[in-house]
């Protein structure tokens, strides 16, 4: 019986000096995961090798046993297999990886349910929000120690988690600014008389292989690979240069010395290592790093290109849905992602609410899908706006790779990759907006692109809504909660109160009516720490970080 896996212990050095077992040798992934899964372990071998720790008193966890026997403090260290994703079903070839605890705040639930509390907020407080400060993407790195945000002004800000302070056990590691750099500048396309926005559409981290960190950031047209490295030593005692940098005359040198390294204040440098440009005619909406750590894809409205991280002057076009006659265009690509374990599989979603899974081994141009996911329309809920609200704004694979989640305007759907005709789970995010669709269409809010994310163990999902509300759904208990990212509830370690929208009839106290919602305050971008219960929520120009409460 495969046991649940635990998160690496907290004392692990966040910057491994040697590559972990997950090296980037080509072919390693494909071989290793079959080996791992045959043993019933998680494909992410790091979790197996480094920490096989279970909490005291834990005698075993059957797949169907609920997680309540773990106390909240222990739930951080171990992750139980979600009850649904039992590895025993024959259809699941890859038992889900549970790298950490998951779950949703229970509110007034049982004793072991945890609650979300405020941790930090980043960003200016003024009412007047500069357009350039609006956050446009949020992403944790693979270890969760770094949190990157991109904004409309083309800047990337990276926060790093401080090491926990033993003397203050109640304050978990806080995120502080680690590096800030200008990733993209506004450009002007002279041929088309168009300005290319510098807004960062997506950031994706690369798995760490040495002391430096790498990320891909993209605007509408250009993708850049950035290297973020630390410098804490400098060389002193050059022979040909003075201390202030002036060159010395070689003839004056009478003695040679060996330069020595001296410590200096930590400096974090970001430098662009690769620039992948001129491959997209339309606006890039997604990038996704492949599990082979060598290639990545970039998707615009009509095409998807495959790149090699080392090669900037060439890319392969793997999907092209542009019709011969543009007037016949009825569908665009809205998001794309590589499978987390299979380096030949990717999916892309469309504006018609369909998802196509493609296998790059089948042909060079993956215009013909291997799987086609679409839910038949419910005729009773048909309206003029049915197609618009069915457009998928985000698609994300679960960490296990067995499921994927799609976000359309009103709901989040979880799909099993083995079942194409309907999702296995559907969660309503803000169904009360269904009667307001015309108004939302008029003010263009109906075109808002909300993102969604999984927690580390795939047991919970999160997505944003309006009025600075965001929603979390627990897949096991089927409970959901609505929380608000606001300055009012921004006291340190203040527990977030669940919010409720009154859909009609009498409005109870503390409820907010649909007409009072502020549709300018929308939470489009959220991120969940890969192993812990820490979430980052972007509310216009502010970044909120919430953590689960430690008793």
């Amino acid at each position: 019986m495969p046991f649940s896996l635990s998160q690496p212990s907290r004392s692990r050095n966040p910057a491994p000096s040697k590559p972990g077992p997950h090296s980037s040798q080509p072919g390693f992934n494909s071989v290793s995961k079959y080996f791992m899964s045959a043993r019933g372990r998680c494909p992410q071998s790091q979790h197996v090798e480094e920490a096989g720790v279970f909490p005291e008193g834990h005698t075993g966890c059957s797949a169907r046993e609920p997680r309540q026997h773990l106390s909240p403090s222990q739930s951080r260290l171990t992750g139980a297999l979600p009850a649904q994703d039992s590895g025993s079903s024959p259809a699941a070839r890859w038992p889900p990886c549970s790298g950490g605890a998951g779950g949703v705040a229970g509110g007034a639930g049982g004793g072991n349910d945890f609650q979300w509390c405020f941790s930090q907020v980043k960003g200016a407080i003024d009412e007047d929000v500069a357009e350039a400060d609006i956050i446009s993407t949020v992403e944790f790195n693979y270890s969760g120690d770094l949190l990157a945000t991109g904004d409309k002004g083309g800047r990337v800000v990276i926060f790093q988690r401080e090491q926990e302070n033993k003397s203050r056990p109640h304050s978990r590691g806080e995120y502080n600014v680690y590096s800030t750099f200008q990733s993209h500048e506004p450009e002007f396309d002279y041929l088309k008389s168009l300005e290319i926005e510098e807004k960062i559409n997506k950031i994706r981290w690369l798995p760490q292989q040495n002391a430096a960190h790498f990320l891909l950031s993209t605007n509408d047209k250009t993708i850049k690979l950035w290297k973020i490295s630390e410098r804490d030593k400098r060389a002193e005692g050059y022979n040909l240069k003075d201390e202030d940098g002036r060159l010395r005359d070689p003839f004056r040198i009478t003695a040679l010395r060996v330069p020595i390294l001296k410590p200096m204040d930590l400096m974090v440098e970001a430098s662009p290592r690769r620039i992948f440009a001129n491959a997209h005619t339309y606006h890039i909406n997604s990038i996704s790093v492949n599990s082979d750590h060598e290639t990545y894809l970039s998707a615009d409205d009509l095409r998807i290109n495959l790149w090699h991280l080392e090669i900037t002057d060439r890319s392969f076009n793997i999907v092209d849905i542009k019709p011969a006659n543009m007037e016949e265009l009825t569908e665009v690509i809205t998001a794309a992602e590589f499978h987390p374990h299979h380096c030949n599989v990717f999916v892309y979603s469309s504006s018609k609410g369909t998802i196509r899974l493609c296998d790059m081994r089948s042909s060079a141009l993956c215009d013909r899908h291997s799987k086609f996911f679409e839910e038949p329309e419910d005729p009773s809920s048909r309206s003029f706006f049915s197609e618009i609200i069915s457009s998928i704004s985000d698609v994300k694979f679960s960490h296990s790779g067995r499921y994927m989640m799609t976000r359309d305007y009103l709901s989040v759907k979880v799909w099993d990759l083995n079942m194409e005709n309907r999702p296995v789970e559907t969660y309503q995010v803000h169904e009360y907006l269904r009667s307001k669709l015309c108004s939302l269409y008029e003010n263009d809010c109906i075109f808002d692109k909300f993102e969604c994310c999984w927690n580390g163990s795939d047991s919970a999902i999160m997505t944003g809504s309006y009025n600075n509300f965001f929603r979390m759904f627990d897949r096991n208990t089927r409970r959901d909660i609505t929380l608000e990212a606001s300055r009012e509830s921004s006291k340190p370690r203040a527990i977030l109160k669940p919010r409720k929208v009154c859909t009609g009839g009498k409005r109870k106290k503390d409820e907010i009516s649909v007409d009072s919602l502020d549709f300018n305050k929308k939470i489009l971008h959220t991120a969940w720490h890969p192993t812990e219960n820490i979430i980052a929520v972007a509310a216009t120009n502010n970044l909120y970080i919430f953590q689960d409460k430690i008793n």
């Binding site: 357009e131 007037e327 665009v332 618009i388 009667s435 008029e442 263009d444 075109f447 007409d515």
Partner: protein, 308 residues
């Protein structure tokens, strides 16, 4: 890229011009709509759509269609319209169009029922418009997004409770708005021939042509993406016009071929273009004459040189 603005993207003027008639259908709602508050709450036409039961299905549909067309027009004016949004809106327009056509095919049954009131007014206008569409043989794109809605509600004749006056006022307001939209030069791929745009608002038939124009325009919106992904002025010009001011009289060998003016643009647009680019167009006509003058002079000179 269509910037995600914090405030509504359509200016209040556009919005108000065609929502006026609907106010009359909001019986006693007492909604106050101030322009300054508009962006803060969603009062106005759309809330009438969402909440009022007095709006009939065809009227709702027409309002949605108008909104779609307005948006498409607005996007075309943008430097770089969002392809995703344009596709979604165009699909909605096609869907409504398809539905209207399906209802037209059921229309003869309704007329025979002798329900003269609505067939005279709103629905009649629609049906005449749609039959005009069918007669003119407008070639629609493949019905792709339209899922089969055989159970789709036929026109609920009984629900039309509005008066004649209200209807005609509604129609004239919509026409005025379509007029307003006509002033913006439509894309060059519109079918031009003979489509002079009569500007008489009283002519109910105008609404049909306008609808047809706009619907065709909706489908042509992607043509601009093809060319330049923008609505830059280059698209409105005939390509040759750009080069007309270059004097190539010395090099033209066949003197009798005038520059090719593509007859793609309707006459209204041509005037528009002429207004905007006077130098180019005037020189185009001049250059023909210059060309011929120069050539005759050249002949003359040649004769002198040859001495014959």
């Amino acid at each position: 890229m269509c910037q995600q603005q914090l405030h509504c993207s359509i200016s209040p003027c556009d919005r108000w011009s065609w929502c006026l008639p609907v106010k009359w259908f909001m019986l006693g709602r007492g909604l106050k709509r101030k322009l300054s508050d508009y962006e803060e709450n969603m009062a106005g036409l759309s809330s009438a759509f969402d909440s009022s039961r007095n709006l009939t299905y065809p009227l709702k549909r027409q309002l949605v269609l108008n909104m779609c067309l307005t948006k498409l027009q607005t996007y075309k004016m943008l430097v770089e319209p969002d392809l995703h949004r344009s596709v979604l809106i165009a699909n909605t327009v096609r869907q409504i169009q398809e539905e209207m056509r399906q209802e037209t095919s059921q229309q003869p049954v309704n007329v025979c029922n002798g329900l003269g009131l609505h067939s005279q007014n709103y629905t009649g206008v629609d049906s005449a418009g749609i039959s005009a569409q069918l007669l003119s043989g407008v070639n629609q794109q493949e019905s792709n997004c339209c899922d089969s809605r055989s159970a789709e509600e036929p026109i609920e004749n009984g629900l039309l409770m509005v008066s004649d006056d209200d209807m005609s006022s509604a129609i004239s307001s919509i026409l005025k708005d379509l007029d307003f939209m006509e002033d913006i030069s439509p894309p060059t791929c519109l079918v031009p021939a003979g489509d002079d745009q009569p500007k008489s608002p009283e002519n109910v038939g105008l609404k049909l042509e306008d609808d047809r124009q706009e619907l065709k325009g909706a489908e042509c919106v992607f043509g601009s993406f093809e060319i330049s992904n923008s609505t830059s002025y280059l698209k409105d010009l005939a390509i040759d016009d750009i080069f007309e001011d270059i004097d190539t009289s010395m090099y033209d060998s066949d003197f009798c071929c005038p520059p090719q003016m593509p007859s793609r643009v309707p006459s209204a647009t041509t005037e528009e273009t002429l207004k905007t680019f006077p130098t180019c167009n005037s020189s185009s006509t001049n250059s023909i004459q210059i060309c011929r003058t120069d050539l005759s002079e050249l002949d003359h000179i040649m004769e002198i040189l040859v001495g014959s």
